[in-house]
């Protein structure tokens, strides 16, 4: 016969340990993201470019003392570190660094606007399709299939001819294709969330469909949107640069990293550095967006690592 061991249990004097702070899902994800140094650096790079874009005129006034359109035909193809031109000048004697600063406005502006538009449309379509299912789902998703089946580059070319591309139209053109993928992702996530009891419980306490979708579904699929958004940002920057490079996007004299590359290609044998700087900024932005996207995904779903 085994007698029960006397077990001493340390019962807390108060029924609750003091100051155990309840951390939300978001706070926990943020905590994990902060542990990821590569992700944080990548995020920092993105923030840096955003700040550069926002404060481009200020930075130009403080650092380069140049206007991005000021020509100086007596001082073309100045090498980096020449007086008054930290990164040199281009074929028309315009300050390269100033143009890069303003180019960030185009890339970041189009990048974030396109991501925002694609996420909004995509999430709305995905939520509605996934929540209602049936015919609505079928119609919306077949429409998404059609959108995704269009060869994007031809669409971009057509749109660029139909609408004169500026920052806003170009962002909308890019987003008009990009929302399809996010709609699919969100719908897939909705299908798995929708079948959980709290959705039925929400309906059972009399919540309207709109409340169920916005208050209960959306926060549960938000992580998919955030991850997709940051990965998509890199893609948009790349697409935008490519369109500019092909002359279908933002056209000179407005500087963008893409059309600066086009220019650099023309004068490649005069000055190699002209190709390097916009190339580096594009490369850094896209790399940072991808790394940050991956880090966010790991933060939301630690099991994936």
């Amino acid at each position: 016969m085994i007698s029960p061991l006397p077990i001493e249990v340390d019962l807390p004097q108060e029924s609750r340990a003091p100051a155990r702070v309840a951390r939300s899902y978001w706070q926990e994800a943020w905590g994990r993201l902060r542990q990821n140094s590569i992700g944080m650096v990548a995020g920092g790079v993105l923030v840096f470019f955003v700040l550069v874009a926002i404060f481009a005129p200020l930075l130009a006034a403080l650092i380069t003392h140049q206007n991005y359109q000021t020509l100086d035909l007596t001082n073309t193809f100045a090498p980096p570190l020449s007086p008054n031109h930290i990164l040199g000048t281009d074929d028309l004697g315009r300050d390269e660094l100033t143009r890069l600063l303003f180019g960030a406005r185009v890339s970041m502006g189009i990048g974030f606007l396109a991501v925002f538009v694609a996420l909004t449309i995509g999430a709305a379509v995905g939520l509605v399709a996934g929540f209602y299912g049936g015919l609505i789902d079928g119609l919306l998703m077949r429409f998404v299939d059609i959108i995704l089946a269009i060869p994007a580059i031809f669409l971009f070319i057509l749109m660029a001819i139909l609408f004169k591309p500026n920052t806003v139209t170009l962002a909308l053109i890019i987003a008009s294709v990009g929302w399809g993928s996010i709609a699919r992702l969100v719908r897939g996530e909705v299908l798995s969330v929708r079948s959980r009891d709290f959705m039925v419980a929400g309906a059972a306490l009399g919540a309207r469909d709109s409340r169920l979708i916005v208050r209960h579904l959306l926060p549960n699929v938000m992580h998919v949107m955030i991850v997709f958004g940051s990965l998509y940002l890199g893609q948009v920057v790349l697409i935008e640069a490519a369109l500019d490079f092909l002359g279908l996007g933002i056209s000179p004299p407005t500087p963008s990293w893409g059309n600066m590359l086009t220019n650099a290609e023309t004068f490649f044998f005069h000055s190699r550095t002209l190709a390097i700087f916009p190339g580096i900024t594009i490369f850094l932005t896209v790399l940072a967006a991808n790394l940050f996207g991956n880090a966010v995904r790991d933060a939301f779903d630690p099991r994936l690592r």
């Binding site: 609750r16 951390r23 899902y25 978001w26 709290f198 306490l205 009399g206 919540a207």
Partner: protein
Amino acid sequence: MAETVLEVRNLTTHFKTPEGVVKAVDGVSFELHAGETLGIVGESGSGKSVTALSVMRLVPRPGQIVKGEVRLKNRDLTSLTEAEMQEIRGVSIAMIFQDPMTSLNPVFRVGWQVAEPLFVHQNMDRIRALAEADKMLGRVGIPNPKERARDFPHQFSGGMRQRAMIAMGLTTMPPVLIADEPTTALDVTIQAQILELLRNVNREFGTATILITHNLGVVAGMCKRVIVMYAGKIVESGPTADVFAHPKHPYTWALLKSIPRLDADQRQPLRPIEGIPPDLIDLPSGCSFHPRCPFKIERCKRDTPSLIPVGDTQIAACWVTQSGVELKDA
């Protein structure tokens, strides 16, 4: 007799699937009186949960209420528009679910979720609704409700989540509460606590409760009246004591025989019900239970028995007992 708060008449819910029509609920009628706890028992797939969801009009696709009435205070819920129904749910009828682990939204604080019916139905402002939720969490036995209300569901144990679910159902003081297997996912000690809580709720708030379960012990302890369902139909109903003492349907009889009892002869083997539950698409002819019934007579294969009084207090759908035969061990 107390006033009837909910009356279900000939409720029939079908699921149209490619394989055929699943008759999940097939002509179910019952009444729920004010302040009582009514048990609905039956094995998995007998239509208990679909009956509850039909009352709430929340049957998942492709299910559909084909006919019948659900009368709540002289309104037929089956004929209301979806918008009108949303005003009924959570106000007149609340429902709590089987699995407390998935019944709370993981991204919101518990207090907020308990307060949600107040936001939805009474347009109560945030501070008052949350204070109301704290109070309600306290009443369902959550210690330190003010602090715990700021927790997220994953910080609650299963029993606490079920308490929170019950609190959520009760914030608007609905006259009818449907509890769909509220204790199935909990361990035994917690089950007892939750049942005690439901009993208190029933007493204090006067909420009429429909308790759906497959646990006959729970029914014996909680419910004055019980309904036994088999293959989408009610096969027997009556006062719990009478139904358990003298079952008037062979299915009830067999169910009672198949549970272990502490006071019975230990050497007697348990007797399971032979066979498997019927295919709801292709029900057996006559009485759906006849292929598994030890008492069956010829007539059971041909004609479907109707639910009529057998004995003084019970009703049963069985040709054998209706002809006056007692159900006894063969």
